[in-house]
């Protein structure tokens, strides 16, 4: 295992110490239990946005705490959902009287822990709504299973709902908007290499030198199929066609295209992927009007990428463009 760390068991705490030292202007970090809170929280009268999940996906979620995006993030151990006490602390810290939205990625662990937290927050009379993001088309959906995973759309939902909350919209509306983003976003990812969970010390899965895994999750969960390495244009087809056909995205649609790096893949490759994606979408009459390219929802040092498409309308576009000031995403009006 080759990592820039000290002891595996200290990675998350030391990362948070680093974040606390680097971004004191944006966030406060609470250490027991771990919570990253917007520096000026709670913002009175504003809906509080809380998300969280296992660590190892940086900058998500801690890097998205700040004006225009999240009010708090709960970082779990690496790839392990955080616990209800973290979420309860976060919820209390960001409650400015207008209620709190939990943005939850659809993993059994995340869902159950956020449920327990919401029950506890209810006990303290804080109004909480939860929206579950489940946008990963690599997973077959069914009433009888855990359903689809939450992946790339989470980042977009956090940005867009963050902007809406900043405008002072009420909890029910922000929650509806979050469901709308989820309903219009679809993702799929792939890996060229496995990642290594620090505490495990060895790769979660083995891939041959000429193999890749399509439909991978963000925790090194195995994907839909393993296949021979292929050129970028074929990889884009393997990812984007299921996405496009699932919603479906249709000729005339305007989309936000999010090409995400898994952590070990450099930007130069993401632009090659983006280039192939523009060609594929062009061929189907779908227009990219906004884009996001870079490592935003990662899987430790995994090499690979994911593609997320979000169907845009004027409202979503306007909220996407609204100012945001976080360590991970930052722009002005």
């Amino acid at each position: 295992m080759k990592k820039l760390i000290n002891k595996p068991e200290d990675v998350v705490t030391e990362e948070l110490q680093g974040i606390a030292a680097a971004h004191a202007d944006l966030v406060r970090v609470q250490f027991n239990p771990h919570v990253i809170v917007r520096a000026d929280a709670p913002v009175q009268g504003k809906v509080g946005l809380v998300s969280g999940g296992g660590s190892g996906h940086e900058p998500m979620h801690g890097g998205f705490v700040g004006p225009g995006m999240l009010d708090a993030a709960c970082p779990g151990e690496v790839f392990t959902s955080p616990t209800p006490d973290q979420m309860l602390d976060a919820t209390k810290a960001v409650n400015g009287g207008a209620g709190v939205l939990h943005i939850v990625k659809n993993y059994t662990g995340d869902v159950m822990n956020f449920e327990m937290a919401a029950e506890l927050a209810g006990g303290e009379s804080i109004e909480v709504q939860a929206v579950v993001i489940d946008d990963d088309v690599a997973v077959q959906d069914s009433l009888y299973t855990a359903g689809r995973r939450g992946v790339g759309t989470t980042v977009l939902a956090e940005k867009i709902c963050g902007a809406a909350a900043e405008e002072g919209r009420p909890l029910a509306e922000v929650a509806d908007l979050c469901r709308k983003v989820n309903a219009n976003g679809r993702s799929m990812g792939m890996a060229l290499t496995s990642c290594i969970v620090p505490a495990a010390g060895k790769p979660t899965f083995e891939l041959g030198d000429d193999e890749m895994e399509i439909g991978i999750g963000i925790h090194g969960e195995p994907g839909r199929e393993r296949m021979k390495l292929a050129p970028a244009s074929e990889i884009v087809e393997k990812l984007a066609v299921p996405i496009v056909e699932d919603l479906p995205f249709e000729s005339g649609d305007q989309v936000l295209a999010f090409v995400n790096g898994m952590g070990g893949t450099p930007l130069i490759e993401l632009y090659v992927i983006y280039n192939d994606l523009t060609k594929l979408l062009d061929g189907r009459g779908i227009t990219i009007t906004r884009n996001l390219i870079g490592p935003y929802i990662t899987s430790l040092e995994m090499a690979g990428c994911s593609i997320t498409l979000l169907k845009l309308d004027d409202e979503l576009t306007r909220l996407w463009d609204a100012p945001v000031k976080t360590a991970g995403l930052r722009w002005a009006a």
Binding site: T145, A146, V197
Partner: protein
């Protein structure tokens, strides 16, 4: 079992017995951390052993600190709360709920009869199902817990000694655990794999077997009398 051994048969569990079981489970989790993690890597995200071990170490510190003041219900609730706040993932809420509900079922008691134990287990499992919505055959810890519970109840109802009932319970859990191998997962992270989840043993069922095995081994020894 011979008449002469009747005298040493365990008829109830005290605070200390329950504590020994919890410690034994902790030891088992420690010893099998690697295997649990390997199993989880095959169908999940490779952290089940790490998570459970982190949780059980915290539990042992906690129950040591709590001392013997607590009744058994409170002790089990402490275990549950500690797991909830230290394990995370799916394992945290599920094992946390298991212990919390067991604790609720025996609230205030300082001694558990075999039937109390069976009732506690039943309540704990009901909690796991309420939280996780898993049915038997979904390839989860439920597939070890339910056969374990059923075997325990059947054995006790059939007049078996507590020791025998615990052994049958653990063995049934072991069988349930092995029976998860061919199953296609419908709950938890393994469900993302669809058909590819078949052929692997469920990590949660494996840790649940360890839990019931720890009970059989800890309490299966003749009671120290005197």
């Amino acid at each position: 079992m011979a008449e002469s051994e009747q005298a040493s048969r365990r008829m109830s569990l005290g605070h200390d017995d329950v504590l020994r079981w919890i410690r034994a489970f902790g030891t088992e989790v420690d010893a099998n951390k690697e295997q649990l993690t390997q199993l989880d890597a095959a169908v999940g995200d490779g952290d089940h052993g790490i998570n459970m071990q982190r949780g059980m170490s915290a539990v042992l510190v906690k129950v040591d600190a709590a001392g013997e003041e607590q009744d058994i219900g409170a002790l089990l609730k402490t275990v549950g709360m500690t797991l909830v706040s230290t394990v995370g993932g799916a394992g945290g809420p599920l094992y946390g709920t298991l212990f919390l509900q067991m604790g609720m079922a025996v609230a205030g008691k300082d001694e558990l009869s075999p039937d109390d134990w069976a009732a506690a287990l039943e309540a704990g499992i009901a909690g796991v199902q309420a939280r996780g919505k898993a049915e038997p055959g979904d390839k989860t810890m439920i597939d070890a817990l339910i056969p374990g519970r059923d075997a325990l109840k059947a054995a006790l109802a059939g007049g078996a000694s507590f020791e025998d009932a615990l052994r049958q319970s653990a063995d049934a859990a072991g069988q349930g655990m092995r029976d998860t191998v061919p199953l296609v997962a419908r709950k938890g992270r393994a469900s993302y794999l669809g058909e590819r989840s078949a052929g692997h043993q469920d990590p949660g069922a494996t840790s649940s077997h360890l839990l019931l095995e720890a009970a059989a081994e800890t309490w299966g020894e003749p009671e120290q009398t005197g």
